[in-house]
């Protein structure tokens, strides 16, 4: 009995985790199945587009700017050991568009948007607004989840593209002002080195991260516990889950795109 108790506890944890994953997968399937079925809520979609896309531009831009600058400094310092300082423009660019643009952009948007969606929908749940939607013949999944998920999937690649550009610009600013690069040479090296799939893979990652960001916010909001503590816990869980899933998805997608 004493020997089996830890195993039983471990089994319970594993089963709970699997059940949780199952619930999230079922929820995702439900959301996807509603995307193509009417009714559609264009006004909710436009609001979500604005909230997730437009209002995330400053945080994504600032994050990318400083990251691009820091990356250029690091590559210069590391490259100097091998006499490879000239690789700063190309490695900064590839680092931004393949990895740092999508991942840091995704994490920053998750912090801003996932939390906001989870808190908003969690509050709607505890104040019976979700029940009210149902009694008004409106499917909460269609009205609350679908517009946010579709908006996030569409707008995240745009945010990633903006982040990539600003990040490369950050590297360029540091390069010409601090590291002694010639401006036109820096730009030429960046542009000539990048290939279409370097940028394209980052945009695809952005779309996948957008799905995770919105889905986690909606899922945890709709399953929020009672009261302020319930909403707080749902918000925290949503951000943690979105962040971990973004990093895990990034690894999987990188392996699929560049693993060979």
């Amino acid at each position: 009995m004493i020997l089996t108790a830890p195993l039983a506890a471990l089994g319970r944890v594993v089963l709970d985790a699997l059940a949780g994953i199952g619930r999230i997968v079922m929820f995702a399937v439900q959301v996807i199945s509603h995307i193509v079925r009417p009714p559609f809520y264009p006004r909710e979609f436009m609001t979500a587009l604005l909230q997730i896309g437009w209002f995330s531009l400053p945080v994504v831009g600032m994050t990318a700017l400083f990251t691009g600058g820091a990356l250029a400094l690091q590559i210069y310092a590391g490259g100097a050991r091998y006499g490879a300082e000239a690789a700063v423009p190309s490695i900064t660019a590839i680092g931004m568009v393949r990895e740092l643009g999508p991942v840091l952009g995704g994490l920053m948007v998750a912090a801003r948007v996932t939390s906001s969606i989870a808190a908003e929908i969690g509050t709607m749940k505890v104040t019976e607004q979700i029940d009210a939607l149902t009694t008004l013949s409106t499917n909460p999944l269609k009205y609350l989840a679908v517009p946010r998920v579709v908006a996030a999937v569409l707008v995240m690649p745009v945010l990633v593209a903006v982040g990539d550009s600003v990040g490369i610009a950050g590297g360029w600013l540091v390069g010409i002002n601090q590291l002694g690069f010639n401006s036109s040479t820096y730009i030429k090296n960046t542009v000539s080195f990048l290939q279409f799939w370097d940028v394209g893979s980052g945009l695809v990652k952005g779309a996948a991260f957008g799905f995770i960001i919105a889905l986690m916010g909606v899922y945890h909001g709709m399953n929020s516990g009672r009261g302020a503590q319930g909403v707080g816990t749902a918000t925290k869980s949503a951000v943690v889950a979105a962040s971990v899933l973004i990093l895990a998805a990034n690894f999987l997608l990188t392996r699929v795109f560049f693993g060979s």
């Binding site: 009714p39 609001t47 709607m124 104040t127 019976e128 607004q129 029940d131 009210a132 149902t134 009694t135 008004l136 013949s137 409106t138």
Partner: protein
């Protein structure tokens, strides 16, 4: 007519409903009373299909509420929630006209807005309130907006969940009178859950007391005071002593 037969519902080990039998004839106003945590809200939400009972049947005009066209079923209902449950991001008129802007009952925007303003007037609110957001209104005004939303599509059946909770006695009286007037003039079937005995006397044709997961007593409101049931007597007189434990 709404009919509940042997309705059971448990949440884990907590058996909330343990065989509820109740009949609400068409065009009458039934008020469900009972202490906190006795399952009044669960009962009401079960009728609407927001909660699925573990056992038993609930029928509306002989039709099982869990079967058939869900939208058409819900289209027959209006509901006033305890806290109003107004959508914060929408203006007051958009809240009131929510059902009129989509689905089978969809109307053009101008017509929906005109109906919303008319319903707001019906519950004693002026036109300028229509363009405000719910967060800008007092609790009593929010309740009235919730009432206007409940009646906007002229439903056959209206549910009221604790309609006077959190309101001062004067505003409670106003809401009670409004509910009685509206239910009478619309000829609607009404089901209300409340602790407030002044609401019971103002709104009810019939009363049912829920206790221990079953309907303990039911009858016309004018027979409520005369009943010898000790549970009902303790509840309606608000006595600490009696068969209902004051600490539950």
């Amino acid at each position: 007519m709404i009919e509940l037969s042997g309705v059971h519902k448990a949440f884990g080990s907590n058996k909330v409903l343990q065989g509820v039998d109740l009949m609400i004839p068409k065009g009458t106003s039934m008020v469900i009373i009972g202490g906190s945590g006795t399952g009044k809200s669960v009962l009401l939400k079960s009728v609407l299909g927001l909660i699925r009972p573990d056992r038993g049947t609930i029928t509306l005009d002989g039709q099982d509420v869990t079967k058939g066209d869900r939208d058409a079923f819900l289209g027959r209902f209006g509901m006033l929630f305890q806290g109003g449950a107004l959508f914060d991001s929408l203006r007051v008129w958009e809240n009131v006209a929510f059902r009129l802007r989509q689905g089978a009952q969809k109307r053009p925007k101008d017509e929906a807005r005109a109906i919303a303003i008319e319903k707001l007037r019906r519950v004693g609110l002026k036109e300028h309130v229509a363009d405000q957001f719910p967060g800008e209104l007092s609790g009593g005004m929010q309740k009235r907006v919730g009432l206007a939303r409940a009646i906007a599509a002229e439903p056959e059946i209206i549910f009221f969940d604790e309609p006077t909770t959190g309101l001062d006695p004067i505003m409670s009286g106003v809401i009670n009178d409004l509910i009685r007037e509206i239910v009478t003039e619309m000829g609607a079937t009404a089901m209300t859950i409340t602790h407030d005995m002044s609401s019971v006397r103002a709104i009810a044709d019939n009363v049912a007391m829920l206790h221990g997961g079953v309907v303990r007593w039911t009858g016309p409101v004018n027979e409520m005071d005369a009943t010898s049931d000790p549970y009902v007597q303790q509840f309606i007189h608000g006595r600490a002593e009696g068969p209902i434990e004051s600490v539950r």
